[in-house]
């Protein structure tokens, strides 16, 4: 127990007794997010506004107790897992829409607002919020800011950092500051950009100003069916090579299609080797031309069938399968380990081969979903954690796959973050000097190591490293600087 009676009382004084959880049964679900890592907090606290967030952070700092911020707990790198116990600061009560400005095309919201709600309220002005993680019905804007969340529709429009103009934050040291601006052009150092994607290690966003974009006139979604992943991958290169920037360009392999179809009945061909979802939007005449180009590229590379959806309900059905695909894997295996790596598009086919080889070597079936347009892979290793030793082996296999991505000239994460899951792999990409510079950035925001500890950067001790994680690292190779 790292939370003393004194701190518990201090937290209750700030937010009220009913907004502090500390009974073991109440804490259990806060030990996890969407990933494998677990660690029980000592207390969960629900501040209702900026001042309360500030007071909670200061109280924890005063008692030298770690703080871990949490949105909806849908994250996929262990970012909201309180690795060193202590206090989880949840934003669930801060879910007010503060302002929608259809003229400036911005909205100001609290961090606990679910992503989908932004698009819902913007819809009445013909606008929407572009980044659309697959968890968008649940995940929060605060969590999106922390992870610099992406989504299928980020290919053309960019990820969270391209859509958040400014933020009020409570820093790790407990200062309230404004980063960025209310307008589009902040000057000076871009601290807003530093904060977005910092995975909750620099502070907590308490108000977020987002950009809203107009709903396009015409949207066409194509479902192109292929016999294998190779032909689908070549089509991706051909589409981009033809100068098209689709709103989304997604690929799913056979295993994923079968799970999605079984779970969500969205009309996918379960016997296909791979499908591409290609979405084109804009002015009708332009879209029409692009659809012709995209169809030609698909046909040229061996598409066996191309379906076209123009009505919202038809398009929604095609997307329903994609957005629920990962979760639908629960139908074919009790657990999956969802990886998030990036490779240059030109290395896609070869990397896929390596992924297949590694997962086969470890004996784990693999399902692949990817944001093919930007080379963002999501291999999912299927396993059963109830078999002893399996979790350690699946982490080992995951580490080997990440290694392959890095060696192909890619990155450790496209959108899920480094979190606790992959902090040990950071030396594959960065020198000790790079990492030290990043630590100094933390210091600027007052994080002495207790604010969302053990995330992003490799830590020496005190992070409760589990033996299997050490094993995973050892198996993946030496900590070479790539």
């Amino acid at each position: 127990m790292t939370v003393s009676a004194g701190l518990l009382q201090a937290l209750r004084d700030v937010v009220g007794k009913e907004h502090v959880l500390h009974k073991p049964e109440d804490l259990l679900v806060y030990e996890l997010d969407g990933t494998i890592d677990r660690s029980l907090p000592d207390a969960v606290v629900f501040p209702g506004n900026t001042e309360e967030v500030q007071a909670v952070v200061r109280a924890c700092n005063g008692f030298d107790v770690p703080v871990t911020p949490r949105g909806a707990g849908t994250g996929l790198s262990g970012g909201a897992v309180p690795t060193r116990q202590g206090v989880v600061l949840a934003t669930a009560r801060m879910r007010r829409i503060l302002d929608v400005d259809p003229v400036e095309r911005t909205a100001t919201v609290e961090p606990g607002v679910p992503n989908i709600q932004l698009s819902e309220i913007a819809a009445e002005h013909g606008l929407f919020y572009a980044p659309d993680p697959s968890s968008q019905k649940a995940c929060t804007i605060g969590g999106n800011v922390a992870e610099n969340a992406g989504g299928p529709h980020c290919l053309a429009l960019g990820v969270t950092t391209n859509h958040v103009i400014g933020m009020e934050v409570v820093t790790a040291s407990g200062e309230v500051e404004w980063l960025g601006s209310h307008g589009p052009d902040p000057v000076g150092y871009d601290l807003r950009g530093v904060f977005i994607g910092s995975e909750g290690t620099l502070g907590i966003a308490t108000k977020v100003v987002v950009r809203l974009v107009p709903v396009p006139d015409t949207v066409v979604t194509l479902l192109a069916i292929f016999d294998d992943v190779e032909s689908a991958s070549e089509t991706v290169s051909a589409v981009i090579g033809a100068g098209l920037v689709p709103a989304a360009l997604e690929m799913m392999d056979r295993v994923t299609l079968q799970a999605a179809e079984a779970g969500l009945r969205c009309g996918y061909p379960p016997d296909a080797g791979a499908v591409l979802l290609i979405e084109l939007d804009g002015i009708e005449e332009v879209v029409r031309g692009q659809v012709t180009q995209a169809r030609a590229a698909c046909n040229e590379h061996g598409a066996t069938e191309i379906r076209t959806a123009t009505e919202p309900a038809e398009r929604e059905l095609l997307w329903k399968g994609r957005k629920g695909a990962i979760g639908a894997l629960g139908r074919i295996a009790p657990n999956y380990y969802l990886l998030d790596g990036v490779v240059p598009r030109s290395r896609l086919v070869e990397t896929m081969g390596e992924v297949a080889r590694i997962s086969e070597g470890y004996g784990f079936p693999v399902a692949n979903v990817f944001h093919a347009g930007d080379g963002n892979l999501h291999p999912c290793l299927l396993f059963d954690e109830r078999e002893p030793g399996t979790t350690a082996r699946v982490l080992e296999a995951g580490a080997a796959i990440m290694r392959v991505c890095v060696e192909a000239g890619g990155a450790l994460t496209g959108e899920h973050g480094v979190g606790f899951e992959k902090n040990r792999f950071m030396p594959w990409l960065y020198s000790e000097t790079d990492l030290e510079n990043m630590r100094r950035v933390r210091g600027v925001f007052g994080n002495e190591g207790a604010f969302n500890p053990c995330k992003v950067l490799p830590e020496g001790t005190g992070c409760g490293e589990m033996a299997h994680q050490q094993g995973a690292l050892a198996a993946a190779g030496p900590d070479a600087y790539v």
């Binding site: 009974k23 049964e25 606990g112 639908a328 629960g330 139908r331 009790p334």
Partner: protein, 420 residues
């Protein structure tokens, strides 16, 4: 399932299946669909939280405590989470079995559970007892005494009785199986409370079914579907009632069993699951479940001459129709075909109203919060008619209409379609 696999459970034979629990990959996509999460903002009051507690009890990480009981009992079992779960977690089944554990060894409120079990077994499930008990209720609903009590304000101080009064519409004559026990190709399921307090809905259902060309009848000997008992964790009683209904409907010879109450329909479509462990009944239960069809689902496939209903209609999904049976387009299409009506979509039409079987009686605070959300929508949209397809919801909307201070009729879907 072997008892040794589930050391944490007091009632091993009805313990939540470890395979069902393992299906949850804790992705969290369910949380915002959950009404109790929407109200509390607490993940422990969300499907993921409740499943995680069940896993922890199964793995003996925590004992079955009063706090665990509280979190499970706050669940409405609306199954909105199941509808959005990509992994296909059978949440309803998990929660019924979790509650069976509470029933076997309640950490607290033992007498409340025993009282409920007694009432469900000896009143709700016994048609004559229920009829005798509800006859004065029907009389009271239409008597001048009711108006007097309302105006006096005394009902505010009568706790659950006052809440029941607010939910009471103006029930017509009962409709019991003996009222139409002939034969035909379509059997109507009449249920328990539905047949005593919603006779008008049954009569309307019969007329609408006939207008659609069906020969409908109500087989004698049928009774409560068992859903209320199952939801409360009394699976033994639910199985008894299911077996009785299976025998009745087998003997009826009807090809199709039409159910106009969402909660009953969902439960009866799952008879196969409920009786899977019973070698004598498993196959028959599957066969019966396959013959069950919801009233609107049945009509959607038939040629129903359009009726007429003037005004703005707000259709509110019954959870066990929309989420458990996946039926939400059919009722809207049927209503949309009525002459003279305008369908109004209110926000949260598919979110639980807080009736949830007997939930409004045992969890009045949460039920009230959810009812208030509906009332706020009714105040904003001012519909003339509110239509739903489940008796409990209908009662909750009576109360919500009064809370909203608007003039609106609350009708069962069959009554709306029956208007000419």
């Amino acid at each position: 399932m072997a008892a040794s696999e589930t050391p944490g459970w007091p009632l091993a034979e009805d313990a939540p299946d470890t395979a069902d629990l393992a299906k949850c990959v804790h992705c969290g996509l369910c949380v915002n669909a959950c009404p109790t999460y929407a109200i509390t903002g607490l993940e422990v009051e969300s499907p993921r939280g409740r499943i995680h507690l069940a896993r922890a009890v199964a793995e003996e990480r925590i004992p079955l405590t009063e706090a665990v009981q509280g979190h499970w009992e706050l669940c409405l079992q609306c199954r909105a989470c199941e509808a959005v779960c990509p992994s296909g977690v059978p949440y309803g089944r998990i929660m019924e079995r979790a509650r069976a554990q509470l029933d076997a060894a309640p950490p607290s409120k033992g007498w409340e559970r025993r009282l409920r079990r007694f009432a469900l077994r000896n009143v709700i499930a016994r048609p004559r007892v229920l009829a005798a008990l509800l006859a004065p209720v029907r009389w009271f609903a239409r008597s001048p005494l009711r108006g007097l009590l309302r105006r006096s304000g005394v009902l505010r101080f009568t706790g659950p009785l006052g809440r029941l009064e607010a939910q009471l519409g103006r029930p017509g004559r009962p409709y019991r199986p003996r009222d139409n026990a002939g034969d035909g190709d379509v059997a109507l399921f009449t249920g328990c409370v539905m047949s005593e307090l919603f006779g008008d809905a049954h009569r309307a259902s019969m007329r609408v079914l006939e207008r659609s060309g069906a020969r409908a009848f109500a087989p004698r000997g049928q009774g409560c579907c068992g859903a209320l008992s199952a939801h409360d964790g009394d699976l033994a009683q639910a199985r008894r009632l299911a077996r009785a209904n299976i025998a009745t409907f087998e003997a009826s010879g009807a090809e199709t069993i039409v159910v106009n109450s969402a909660g009953c329909g969902a439960a009866m479509k799952e008879y196969g699951e409920l009786l899977a462990g019973d070698p004598d009944s498993a196959d028959r239960a599957e066969a019966m479940a396959a013959r069950v069809i919801d009233f609107s689902e049945y009509l959607a496939g038939r040629d129903l001459p359009a009726g007429r209903l003037e005004g703005r209609i707000a259709y509110q999904d019954a959870c066990h129709l929309a989420h458990a049976q996946g039926i939400s387009a059919e009722p809207r299409a049927l209503l949309g075909a009525l002459d003279g009506c305008e369908l109004v979509e209110t926000e949260g039409a598919d979110m639980c109203c807080g009736a949830a079987g007997i939930y409004s009686l045992i969890q009045p605070a949460m039920s009230g919060e959810l009812r208030a959300r509906k009332a706020a929508q009714f105040r904003e949209h001012k519909p003339d008619v509110i239509v739903t397809a489940n008796p409990g919801c209908q009662m909750q909307y009576e109360a919500a209409v009064r809370e909203a201070g608007i003039e609106a009729r609350v009708l069962h879907l069959a009554e709306a379609l029956d208007s000419e």
